[in-house]
Protein backbone atom coordinates (compact mmCIF):
# COMPACT_ATOMS: atom_id res chain seq x y z
CA UNK A 1 0.00 0.00 0.00
CA UNK A 2 1.49 3.31 -1.04
CA UNK A 3 1.43 6.02 1.57
CA UNK A 4 2.07 9.62 0.59
CA UNK A 5 2.77 12.77 2.55
CA UNK A 6 3.34 16.00 0.64
CA UNK A 7 4.87 19.34 1.71
CA UNK A 8 6.90 17.65 4.44
CA UNK A 9 9.85 20.06 4.09
CA UNK A 10 8.64 23.64 4.54
CA UNK A 11 12.05 25.11 3.65
CA UNK A 12 11.91 23.82 0.08
CA UNK A 13 9.49 24.43 -2.77
CA UNK A 14 8.06 20.96 -3.03
CA UNK A 15 8.54 17.74 -1.15
CA UNK A 16 7.01 14.34 -0.63
CA UNK A 17 7.60 11.40 1.66
CA UNK A 18 6.48 8.18 0.05
CA UNK A 19 6.41 4.75 1.59
CA UNK A 20 5.42 1.58 -0.23
CA UNK A 21 5.08 -1.80 1.46
CA UNK A 22 8.82 -2.30 1.43
CA UNK A 23 10.59 1.01 0.82
CA UNK A 24 10.55 4.61 1.91
CA UNK A 25 11.99 7.71 0.27
CA UNK A 26 11.80 11.44 0.78
CA UNK A 27 12.19 13.72 -2.23
CA UNK A 28 12.34 17.47 -2.59
CA UNK A 29 12.18 19.79 -5.58
CA UNK A 30 13.58 23.29 -5.60
CA UNK A 31 13.34 25.59 -8.51
CA UNK A 32 13.65 27.50 -10.65
CA UNK A 33 17.01 28.39 -9.06
CA UNK A 34 19.99 30.41 -10.16
CA UNK A 35 22.42 27.79 -11.49
CA UNK A 36 26.18 27.68 -11.64
CA UNK A 37 27.69 28.96 -14.89
CA UNK A 38 28.25 25.48 -16.28
CA UNK A 39 24.62 24.48 -15.72
CA UNK A 40 23.28 27.55 -17.47
CA UNK A 41 21.51 26.60 -20.71
CA UNK A 42 20.36 29.50 -22.92
CA UNK A 43 17.03 28.05 -24.07
CA UNK A 44 15.91 25.71 -21.34
CA UNK A 45 16.31 24.91 -17.67
CA UNK A 46 18.90 22.45 -16.42
CA UNK A 47 17.75 19.58 -14.25
CA UNK A 48 19.91 18.33 -11.41
CA UNK A 49 19.01 15.09 -9.69
CA UNK A 50 20.78 13.92 -6.55
CA UNK A 51 19.89 10.61 -4.93
CA UNK A 52 21.39 9.73 -1.57
CA UNK A 53 21.61 6.07 -0.55
CA UNK A 54 19.97 4.74 2.61
CA UNK A 55 23.38 4.12 4.16
CA UNK A 56 26.97 5.07 3.43
CA UNK A 57 28.45 7.95 1.52
CA UNK A 58 26.79 8.72 -1.74
CA UNK A 59 25.90 9.02 -4.52
CA UNK A 60 27.88 5.92 -5.51
CA UNK A 61 27.81 4.64 -9.12
CA UNK A 62 24.64 2.73 -8.19
CA UNK A 63 22.88 6.00 -7.37
CA UNK A 64 24.43 7.87 -10.30
CA UNK A 65 22.78 5.41 -12.70
CA UNK A 66 19.47 5.95 -10.90
CA UNK A 67 19.94 9.73 -11.12
CA UNK A 68 20.53 9.53 -14.86
CA UNK A 69 17.38 7.49 -15.43
CA UNK A 70 15.30 9.87 -13.34
CA UNK A 71 16.81 12.94 -15.03
CA UNK A 72 16.05 11.64 -18.53
CA UNK A 73 12.39 11.14 -17.72
CA UNK A 74 12.11 14.50 -15.94
CA UNK A 75 13.68 16.17 -18.98
CA UNK A 76 10.77 14.87 -21.05
CA UNK A 77 8.09 15.83 -18.55
CA UNK A 78 9.13 19.24 -17.17
CA UNK A 79 8.40 22.22 -19.41
CA UNK A 80 12.06 23.22 -19.50
CA UNK A 81 11.49 25.99 -22.06
CA UNK A 82 9.60 27.96 -19.43
CA UNK A 83 12.67 28.45 -17.27
CA UNK A 84 15.64 29.27 -19.49
CA UNK A 85 18.98 29.82 -17.67
CA UNK A 86 17.50 28.32 -14.52
CA UNK A 87 17.98 25.14 -12.58
CA UNK A 88 15.44 22.67 -11.26
CA UNK A 89 16.94 20.65 -8.44
CA UNK A 90 15.52 17.29 -7.41
CA UNK A 91 16.89 15.76 -4.21
CA UNK A 92 16.03 12.31 -3.00
CA UNK A 93 17.05 10.53 0.17
CA UNK A 94 16.32 6.84 0.40
CA UNK A 95 15.24 6.13 3.96
CA UNK A 96 14.37 2.46 3.85
CA UNK A 97 15.23 -0.19 1.36
CA UNK A 98 14.40 -3.90 1.73
CA UNK A 99 18.10 -4.74 1.39
CA UNK A 100 19.49 -2.62 4.24
CA UNK A 101 20.01 -5.45 6.69
CA UNK A 102 23.25 -7.33 6.82
CA UNK A 103 23.22 -10.38 4.57
CA UNK A 104 19.91 -9.58 2.89
CA UNK A 105 21.56 -9.35 -0.52
CA UNK A 106 22.82 -12.89 -0.36
CA UNK A 107 20.90 -15.95 -1.39
CA UNK A 108 19.38 -14.61 -4.60
CA UNK A 109 21.29 -13.32 -7.57
CA UNK A 110 18.41 -11.04 -8.57
CA UNK A 111 18.62 -9.03 -5.34
CA UNK A 112 21.60 -7.04 -6.56
CA UNK A 113 19.52 -5.85 -9.53
CA UNK A 114 16.24 -5.58 -7.68
CA UNK A 115 17.53 -3.29 -4.94
CA UNK A 116 18.23 -0.14 -7.05
CA UNK A 117 15.06 -0.78 -9.07
CA UNK A 118 12.89 -0.69 -5.94
CA UNK A 119 14.57 2.52 -4.76
CA UNK A 120 14.23 4.16 -8.15
CA UNK A 121 10.59 3.17 -8.52
CA UNK A 122 9.75 4.92 -5.24
CA UNK A 123 11.89 7.94 -6.22
CA UNK A 124 9.92 8.34 -9.46
CA UNK A 125 6.49 8.37 -7.84
CA UNK A 126 7.65 10.54 -4.99
CA UNK A 127 9.36 13.09 -7.24
CA UNK A 128 6.15 13.45 -9.27
CA UNK A 129 4.26 14.58 -6.17
CA UNK A 130 7.18 16.82 -5.20
CA UNK A 131 7.11 18.43 -8.64
CA UNK A 132 3.38 19.07 -8.35
CA UNK A 133 3.93 20.47 -4.86
CA UNK A 134 6.65 22.82 -6.11
CA UNK A 135 4.36 24.12 -8.89
CA UNK A 136 6.96 23.52 -11.60
CA UNK A 137 5.22 23.37 -14.98
CA UNK A 138 4.73 19.81 -16.23
CA UNK A 139 3.71 18.64 -19.68
CA UNK A 140 2.03 15.55 -18.34
CA UNK A 141 1.79 13.27 -15.35
CA UNK A 142 3.63 10.01 -14.90
CA UNK A 143 3.39 6.92 -12.77
CA UNK A 144 6.12 4.38 -12.25
CA UNK A 145 5.54 0.65 -11.76
CA UNK A 146 7.92 -2.16 -10.96
CA UNK A 147 6.86 -5.65 -12.01
CA UNK A 148 8.59 -8.98 -11.53
CA UNK A 149 7.90 -12.04 -13.68
CA UNK A 150 8.31 -15.46 -12.09
CA UNK A 151 7.61 -18.84 -13.68
CA UNK A 152 3.85 -18.52 -13.34
CA UNK A 153 3.04 -15.09 -11.92
CA UNK A 154 3.39 -11.39 -12.42
CA UNK A 155 4.17 -9.54 -9.21
CA UNK A 156 3.73 -5.86 -8.40
CA UNK A 157 6.84 -5.49 -6.25
CA UNK A 158 5.73 -2.32 -4.44
CA UNK A 159 2.96 -4.35 -2.80
CA UNK A 160 5.08 -7.16 -1.36
CA UNK A 161 5.33 -6.40 2.34
CA UNK A 162 7.01 -9.65 3.44
CA UNK A 163 10.71 -8.89 3.07
CA UNK A 164 11.84 -12.51 3.30
CA UNK A 165 9.41 -13.44 0.55
CA UNK A 166 10.63 -10.53 -1.57
CA UNK A 167 14.24 -11.62 -1.19
CA UNK A 168 13.54 -15.21 -2.14
CA UNK A 169 11.34 -14.82 -5.24
CA UNK A 170 12.63 -16.74 -8.19
CA UNK A 171 12.33 -13.99 -10.78
CA UNK A 172 12.81 -14.65 -14.47
CA UNK A 173 12.80 -10.98 -15.31
CA UNK A 174 12.21 -7.56 -13.76
CA UNK A 175 10.57 -4.63 -15.53
CA UNK A 176 10.52 -1.01 -14.49
CA UNK A 177 7.98 0.97 -16.49
CA UNK A 178 7.22 4.66 -16.31
CA UNK A 179 4.06 5.57 -18.19
CA UNK A 180 2.94 9.03 -19.13
CA UNK A 181 -0.62 9.81 -18.08
CA UNK A 182 -2.69 12.18 -20.18
CA UNK A 183 -6.34 12.90 -19.49
CA UNK A 184 -6.48 10.12 -16.91
CA UNK A 185 -5.26 7.52 -19.39
CA UNK A 186 -1.83 5.96 -19.59
CA UNK A 187 -0.33 6.80 -22.96
CA UNK A 188 3.38 6.90 -23.82
CA UNK A 189 6.15 4.84 -22.33
CA UNK A 190 8.66 7.23 -20.76
CA UNK A 191 11.03 4.60 -19.45
CA UNK A 192 11.20 0.86 -19.88
CA UNK A 193 14.02 -0.84 -18.07
CA UNK A 194 13.94 -4.62 -18.22
CA UNK A 195 16.44 -7.06 -16.80
CA UNK A 196 16.57 -10.84 -17.08
CA UNK A 197 15.26 -13.40 -19.51
CA UNK A 198 12.00 -12.57 -21.30
CA UNK A 199 10.32 -12.69 -24.72
CA UNK A 200 7.95 -10.34 -26.50
CA UNK A 201 4.83 -12.05 -25.08
CA UNK A 202 6.12 -11.44 -21.56
CA UNK A 203 6.77 -7.81 -22.36
CA UNK A 204 3.30 -7.24 -23.84
CA UNK A 205 1.78 -8.86 -20.78
CA UNK A 206 3.91 -6.68 -18.51
CA UNK A 207 2.94 -3.50 -20.35
CA UNK A 208 -0.75 -4.46 -20.21
CA UNK A 209 -0.56 -4.97 -16.47
CA UNK A 210 1.50 -1.83 -15.98
CA UNK A 211 -1.26 0.14 -17.71
CA UNK A 212 -3.87 -1.22 -15.33
CA UNK A 213 -1.74 -0.53 -12.28
CA UNK A 214 -0.90 2.96 -13.55
CA UNK A 215 -4.59 3.72 -14.04
CA UNK A 216 -5.35 2.64 -10.48
CA UNK A 217 -2.35 4.34 -8.90
CA UNK A 218 -3.00 7.56 -10.76
CA UNK A 219 -6.54 7.68 -9.42
CA UNK A 220 -5.08 7.47 -5.94
CA UNK A 221 -2.50 10.20 -6.67
CA UNK A 222 -5.18 12.35 -8.28
CA UNK A 223 -7.33 12.20 -5.16
CA UNK A 224 -4.36 13.21 -3.05
CA UNK A 225 -3.56 16.11 -5.37
CA UNK A 226 -7.18 17.18 -5.35
CA UNK A 227 -7.06 17.37 -1.56
CA UNK A 228 -3.82 19.27 -1.74
CA UNK A 229 -5.14 21.85 -4.20
CA UNK A 230 -8.27 22.43 -2.17
CA UNK A 231 -6.09 22.95 0.92
CA UNK A 232 -3.54 25.20 -0.79
CA UNK A 233 -6.06 27.40 -2.55
CA UNK A 234 -8.42 27.72 0.37
CA UNK A 235 -8.52 31.51 -0.10
CA UNK A 236 -10.09 31.04 -3.54
CA UNK A 237 -13.44 29.83 -2.26
Amino acid sequence: MTNLKYSVLPNLDGSCELSTSNSKVITAVSGPLEPKQRHRLPLQSAIEVVIKPSFGMGPTPREVLMQDKLATVLQAVIVTELYPRKLVQVNAQILESPFDEFGSMMGNSFNEILSPMIDLNSCFNSSFISLCDSAIALKSSFVSTLLGVTEDKLINIAEVSDLDLLRSFNFKSLHHIVLEVEENKPTNVLLLDSQGDFNDDDLVNVLDNAQKITQKEFQNIRNILKDKVSQDFIWKA
Binding site: V8, G56, Q93
Partner: protein
Amino acid sequence: MAKDLVITNTERQFILDLLANSQRLDGRKSLLQQRDLNINITPNRYGDIYLELKRDDGSIATRLHCKVTAEIVKPKDQRPFEGTFYINCEFNGLAGLNFENYKVGNNSDEFYYGRLIESMILRSNALDLEQLCIVAGLKVWNIRVDVHVLEFDGGFLELASIGCMTALLHYRRPDVTVRNEKVTIHSFDEKEGVKLGVLHIPIALQFNLFPLKEAAEIIKTNTSSENNNELVVLDCTLKEDLLKDGEFIIALNKNREIVQLNKPGGIPISASKIVEFSHMALPIIEETTNKILKAIDIDEKKRNKYAHLLSAENDRYVE
Protein backbone atom coordinates in the same frame (compact mmCIF):
# COMPACT_ATOMS: atom_id res chain seq x y z
CA MET B 1 23.88 27.58 -6.62
CA ALA B 2 23.45 27.46 -2.89
CA LYS B 3 23.04 30.81 -1.30
CA ASP B 4 24.26 31.37 2.21
CA LEU B 5 21.74 32.32 4.79
CA VAL B 6 22.13 36.05 5.31
CA ILE B 7 20.83 37.88 8.33
CA THR B 8 20.22 41.56 7.91
CA ASN B 9 21.61 44.00 10.46
CA THR B 10 18.16 44.87 11.75
CA GLU B 11 17.20 41.23 12.19
CA ARG B 12 20.51 40.55 13.88
CA GLN B 13 19.95 43.40 16.31
CA PHE B 14 16.38 42.24 16.90
CA ILE B 15 17.40 38.67 17.72
CA LEU B 16 20.19 39.84 20.04
CA ASP B 17 17.89 42.31 21.79
CA LEU B 18 15.32 39.55 22.24
CA LEU B 19 17.95 37.30 23.76
CA ALA B 20 19.08 40.07 26.10
CA ASN B 21 15.46 40.18 27.29
CA SER B 22 15.29 36.37 27.69
CA GLN B 23 13.03 35.96 24.68
CA ARG B 24 13.45 33.77 21.65
CA LEU B 25 12.45 34.26 18.05
CA ASP B 26 10.39 31.07 18.00
CA GLY B 27 8.36 32.06 21.05
CA ARG B 28 10.28 30.30 23.79
CA LYS B 29 10.18 32.25 27.03
CA SER B 30 13.59 31.37 28.41
CA LEU B 31 17.16 31.10 27.13
CA LEU B 32 17.50 27.67 28.70
CA GLN B 33 14.26 26.20 27.36
CA GLN B 34 14.74 23.42 24.84
CA ARG B 35 12.37 22.43 22.11
CA ASP B 36 10.27 19.28 22.53
CA LEU B 37 12.06 16.09 21.60
CA ASN B 38 10.24 13.22 19.92
CA ILE B 39 11.83 9.82 19.37
CA ASN B 40 10.17 7.51 16.85
CA ILE B 41 11.45 3.99 16.29
CA THR B 42 10.52 2.30 13.01
CA PRO B 43 8.51 -0.72 14.11
CA ASN B 44 9.79 -3.48 11.83
CA ARG B 45 13.50 -2.64 11.77
CA TYR B 46 16.42 -2.57 14.15
CA GLY B 47 18.32 0.67 14.73
CA ASP B 48 16.16 2.89 12.54
CA ILE B 49 15.23 6.05 14.43
CA TYR B 50 13.49 9.31 13.53
CA LEU B 51 14.03 12.25 15.84
CA GLU B 52 12.13 15.51 15.85
CA LEU B 53 12.53 18.81 17.63
CA LYS B 54 9.16 20.49 17.78
CA ARG B 55 8.47 24.17 18.16
CA ASP B 56 5.81 25.43 20.55
CA ASP B 57 3.28 25.71 17.72
CA GLY B 58 3.73 22.04 16.89
CA SER B 59 5.68 22.50 13.65
CA ILE B 60 8.84 20.47 13.18
CA ALA B 61 12.03 22.50 13.54
CA THR B 62 14.68 19.83 13.06
CA ARG B 63 14.24 16.26 11.93
CA LEU B 64 16.90 13.59 11.72
CA HIS B 65 16.94 9.99 10.61
CA CYS B 66 19.54 7.73 12.20
CA LYS B 67 20.18 4.32 10.80
CA VAL B 68 22.62 1.66 11.97
CA THR B 69 24.05 -0.82 9.49
CA ALA B 70 26.61 -3.54 10.05
CA GLU B 71 29.01 -5.35 7.78
CA ILE B 72 31.86 -7.78 8.26
CA VAL B 73 35.31 -6.36 7.50
CA LYS B 74 38.96 -7.13 8.20
CA PRO B 75 40.13 -5.28 11.35
CA LYS B 76 42.90 -2.72 11.44
CA ASP B 77 46.35 -4.26 11.73
CA GLN B 78 47.15 -2.52 15.00
CA ARG B 79 43.84 -3.51 16.58
CA PRO B 80 43.06 -7.08 15.57
CA PHE B 81 40.58 -7.72 18.43
CA GLU B 82 38.37 -4.71 17.88
CA GLY B 83 35.50 -3.99 15.58
CA THR B 84 35.16 -0.58 13.97
CA PHE B 85 32.64 2.18 14.38
CA TYR B 86 31.94 5.12 12.15
CA ILE B 87 29.42 7.95 11.99
CA ASN B 88 28.49 9.35 8.61
CA CYS B 89 26.64 12.62 8.55
CA GLU B 90 26.34 15.21 5.87
CA PHE B 91 23.91 17.93 5.03
CA ASN B 92 22.52 18.02 1.52
CA GLY B 93 19.93 19.93 -0.47
CA LEU B 94 17.09 18.35 1.52
CA ALA B 95 18.02 20.30 4.64
CA GLY B 96 17.54 23.65 2.92
CA LEU B 97 18.68 25.66 -0.07
CA ASN B 98 21.65 27.06 1.82
CA PHE B 99 23.21 23.58 1.75
CA GLU B 100 24.81 22.58 -1.50
CA ASN B 101 24.98 19.05 -2.83
CA TYR B 102 28.40 17.46 -3.37
CA LYS B 103 30.09 20.16 -1.34
CA VAL B 104 32.21 18.88 1.48
CA GLY B 105 31.85 20.81 4.70
CA ASN B 106 28.78 22.82 3.80
CA ASN B 107 27.99 23.85 7.26
CA SER B 108 31.66 23.30 8.15
CA ASP B 109 30.23 22.09 11.46
CA GLU B 110 28.67 18.83 10.40
CA PHE B 111 31.95 16.90 10.09
CA TYR B 112 33.29 18.51 13.20
CA TYR B 113 30.18 17.52 15.16
CA GLY B 114 30.23 14.07 13.57
CA ARG B 115 33.79 13.46 14.77
CA LEU B 116 32.90 14.92 18.16
CA ILE B 117 30.08 12.41 18.64
CA GLU B 118 32.26 9.61 17.31
CA SER B 119 35.03 10.34 19.79
CA MET B 120 32.44 10.81 22.55
CA ILE B 121 31.21 7.28 21.94
CA LEU B 122 34.54 5.60 21.18
CA ARG B 123 36.94 7.13 23.66
CA SER B 124 34.57 6.80 26.58
CA ASN B 125 34.06 3.15 25.67
CA ALA B 126 30.33 3.67 25.32
CA LEU B 127 30.32 1.08 22.55
CA ASP B 128 32.28 -2.06 23.37
CA LEU B 129 34.36 -2.70 20.28
CA GLU B 130 35.85 -5.97 21.49
CA GLN B 131 32.41 -7.55 21.45
CA LEU B 132 32.36 -6.91 17.71
CA CYS B 133 35.28 -9.23 17.03
CA ILE B 134 34.40 -12.49 15.24
CA VAL B 135 37.79 -13.99 14.32
CA ALA B 136 40.79 -12.05 15.66
CA GLY B 137 42.72 -10.34 12.91
CA LEU B 138 40.41 -11.61 10.18
CA LYS B 139 36.77 -10.74 10.71
CA VAL B 140 35.13 -8.06 12.79
CA TRP B 141 31.85 -6.17 12.60
CA ASN B 142 31.95 -2.66 11.24
CA ILE B 143 29.11 -0.65 12.75
CA ARG B 144 28.09 2.46 10.90
CA VAL B 145 25.55 5.08 11.90
CA ASP B 146 24.17 7.22 9.10
CA VAL B 147 22.64 10.51 10.16
CA HIS B 148 20.34 11.98 7.53
CA VAL B 149 19.19 15.54 8.08
CA LEU B 150 15.64 15.89 6.80
CA GLU B 151 14.85 19.30 8.21
CA PHE B 152 17.17 21.72 9.88
CA ASP B 153 16.68 24.57 12.26
CA GLY B 154 19.56 24.21 14.69
CA GLY B 155 20.16 21.77 17.52
CA PHE B 156 22.11 19.32 15.39
CA LEU B 157 24.71 18.20 17.92
CA GLU B 158 22.27 17.28 20.69
CA LEU B 159 19.85 15.59 18.35
CA ALA B 160 22.54 13.63 16.52
CA SER B 161 24.10 12.40 19.74
CA ILE B 162 20.70 11.34 21.07
CA GLY B 163 19.90 9.68 17.73
CA CYS B 164 23.18 7.79 17.56
CA MET B 165 22.87 6.47 21.08
CA THR B 166 19.21 5.47 20.63
CA ALA B 167 20.00 3.72 17.37
CA LEU B 168 22.97 1.88 18.88
CA LEU B 169 20.90 0.83 21.90
CA HIS B 170 18.11 -0.42 19.67
CA TYR B 171 20.15 -2.14 16.98
CA ARG B 172 20.65 -5.89 16.86
CA ARG B 173 23.23 -7.55 14.71
CA PRO B 174 22.85 -11.11 13.39
CA ASP B 175 24.23 -13.82 15.67
CA VAL B 176 27.42 -15.55 14.58
CA THR B 177 28.86 -18.98 15.41
CA VAL B 178 32.52 -19.74 14.86
CA ARG B 179 33.61 -23.37 14.65
CA ASN B 180 37.15 -24.21 13.52
CA GLU B 181 37.51 -20.75 11.98
CA LYS B 182 34.37 -21.40 9.92
CA VAL B 183 31.97 -18.52 10.45
CA THR B 184 28.22 -19.03 10.22
CA ILE B 185 25.94 -16.00 10.26
CA HIS B 186 22.45 -16.71 11.48
CA SER B 187 19.47 -14.86 10.10
CA PHE B 188 16.96 -13.34 12.53
CA ASP B 189 14.62 -16.29 11.89
CA GLU B 190 17.23 -18.77 13.01
CA LYS B 191 18.54 -16.98 16.06
CA GLU B 192 17.53 -13.79 17.75
CA GLY B 193 19.81 -10.83 16.99
CA VAL B 194 22.49 -9.76 19.43
CA LYS B 195 22.38 -6.33 20.99
CA LEU B 196 25.46 -4.15 20.74
CA GLY B 197 27.48 -3.68 23.90
CA VAL B 198 26.46 -0.19 24.92
CA LEU B 199 28.07 0.35 28.31
CA HIS B 200 26.75 3.81 29.15
CA ILE B 201 24.83 6.53 27.36
CA PRO B 202 26.79 9.76 26.86
CA ILE B 203 24.79 12.69 25.51
CA ALA B 204 26.24 15.94 24.28
CA LEU B 205 24.86 19.33 25.18
CA GLN B 206 25.87 22.60 23.64
CA PHE B 207 25.87 25.88 25.55
CA ASN B 208 25.86 28.76 23.09
CA LEU B 209 27.48 31.98 24.21
CA PHE B 210 26.42 35.46 23.18
CA PRO B 211 28.62 38.37 24.26
CA LEU B 212 27.19 41.30 26.15
CA LYS B 213 30.39 43.27 25.50
CA GLU B 214 33.13 43.18 22.90
CA ALA B 215 35.54 40.26 23.37
CA ALA B 216 38.60 42.51 23.65
CA GLU B 217 36.89 44.53 26.34
CA ILE B 218 36.11 41.40 28.33
CA ILE B 219 39.73 40.26 28.37
CA LYS B 220 40.95 43.73 29.31
CA THR B 221 38.52 44.40 32.11
CA ASN B 222 37.87 40.92 33.40
CA THR B 223 38.39 40.50 37.08
CA SER B 224 37.33 37.53 39.16
CA SER B 225 34.54 39.54 40.76
CA GLU B 226 32.52 40.06 37.59
CA ASN B 227 31.90 37.12 35.36
CA ASN B 228 28.60 37.88 33.74
CA ASN B 229 29.87 38.93 30.35
CA GLU B 230 27.86 36.50 28.31
CA LEU B 231 24.40 35.17 27.70
CA VAL B 232 24.11 31.40 27.77
CA VAL B 233 21.54 29.94 25.40
CA LEU B 234 20.46 26.33 24.98
CA ASP B 235 19.15 24.73 21.79
CA CYS B 236 19.77 27.58 19.35
CA THR B 237 17.79 27.92 16.15
CA LEU B 238 19.68 28.23 12.89
CA LYS B 239 19.56 32.03 12.95
CA GLU B 240 20.65 32.30 16.56
CA ASP B 241 23.40 29.83 15.76
CA LEU B 242 24.82 32.14 13.11
CA LEU B 243 24.98 35.04 15.57
CA LYS B 244 26.58 33.25 18.50
CA ASP B 245 30.12 33.97 19.50
CA GLY B 246 31.46 30.81 21.01
CA GLU B 247 30.15 27.56 22.33
CA PHE B 248 30.81 25.20 25.15
CA ILE B 249 30.13 21.53 24.50
CA ILE B 250 29.82 19.05 27.29
CA ALA B 251 29.02 15.36 27.05
CA LEU B 252 27.76 13.64 30.15
CA ASN B 253 26.10 10.41 31.11
CA LYS B 254 23.47 9.59 33.66
CA ASN B 255 26.12 8.44 36.15
CA ARG B 256 27.23 12.07 36.44
CA GLU B 257 30.47 11.44 34.60
CA ILE B 258 31.90 13.97 32.20
CA VAL B 259 32.82 12.25 28.97
CA GLN B 260 33.93 15.16 26.87
CA LEU B 261 34.46 18.90 27.21
CA ASN B 262 35.05 21.27 24.37
CA LYS B 263 35.43 25.02 24.21
CA PRO B 264 36.68 25.83 20.75
CA GLY B 265 37.51 29.55 20.78
CA GLY B 266 34.90 32.29 20.94
CA ILE B 267 34.46 34.62 23.87
CA PRO B 268 36.36 33.65 27.01
CA ILE B 269 34.43 32.35 30.01
CA SER B 270 35.55 32.16 33.56
CA ALA B 271 36.79 28.77 34.73
CA SER B 272 34.16 28.49 37.44
CA LYS B 273 31.50 28.51 34.73
CA ILE B 274 32.52 24.99 33.71
CA VAL B 275 31.25 23.57 36.98
CA GLU B 276 28.12 25.67 36.69
CA PHE B 277 27.49 24.37 33.15
CA SER B 278 28.01 20.79 34.27
CA HIS B 279 25.43 21.23 37.00
CA MET B 280 23.02 22.80 34.55
CA ALA B 281 23.51 19.93 32.11
CA LEU B 282 22.94 17.08 34.55
CA PRO B 283 19.14 17.23 34.94
CA ILE B 284 18.75 17.75 31.19
CA ILE B 285 20.90 14.72 30.36
CA GLU B 286 19.07 12.67 32.94
CA GLU B 287 15.71 13.56 31.47
CA THR B 288 16.88 12.84 27.92
CA THR B 289 18.36 9.48 28.90
CA ASN B 290 15.09 8.48 30.52
CA LYS B 291 13.25 9.52 27.37
CA ILE B 292 15.53 7.33 25.23
CA LEU B 293 15.18 4.33 27.53
CA LYS B 294 11.42 4.78 27.67
CA ALA B 295 11.12 4.91 23.88
CA ILE B 296 13.17 1.73 23.56
CA ASP B 297 11.19 0.04 26.32
CA ILE B 298 7.87 0.83 24.64
CA ASP B 299 9.18 -0.52 21.35
CA GLU B 300 10.50 -3.65 23.04
CA LYS B 301 7.10 -4.30 24.63
CA LYS B 302 5.37 -3.94 21.26
CA ARG B 303 7.75 -6.40 19.60
CA ASN B 304 7.66 -8.86 22.43
CA LYS B 305 3.96 -8.93 23.23
CA TYR B 306 3.86 -12.63 24.08
CA ALA B 307 6.92 -12.59 26.34
CA HIS B 308 4.87 -12.80 29.53
CA LEU B 309 3.00 -15.85 28.22
CA LEU B 310 6.14 -17.67 27.14
CA SER B 311 8.17 -16.86 30.23
CA ALA B 312 8.88 -19.73 32.62
CA GLU B 313 9.65 -17.33 35.43
CA ASN B 314 7.45 -17.61 38.51
CA ASP B 315 5.57 -14.61 39.75
CA ARG B 316 7.36 -13.06 42.66
CA TYR B 317 5.42 -11.59 45.46
CA VAL B 318 7.03 -8.94 47.56
CA GLU B 319 5.66 -8.37 51.00
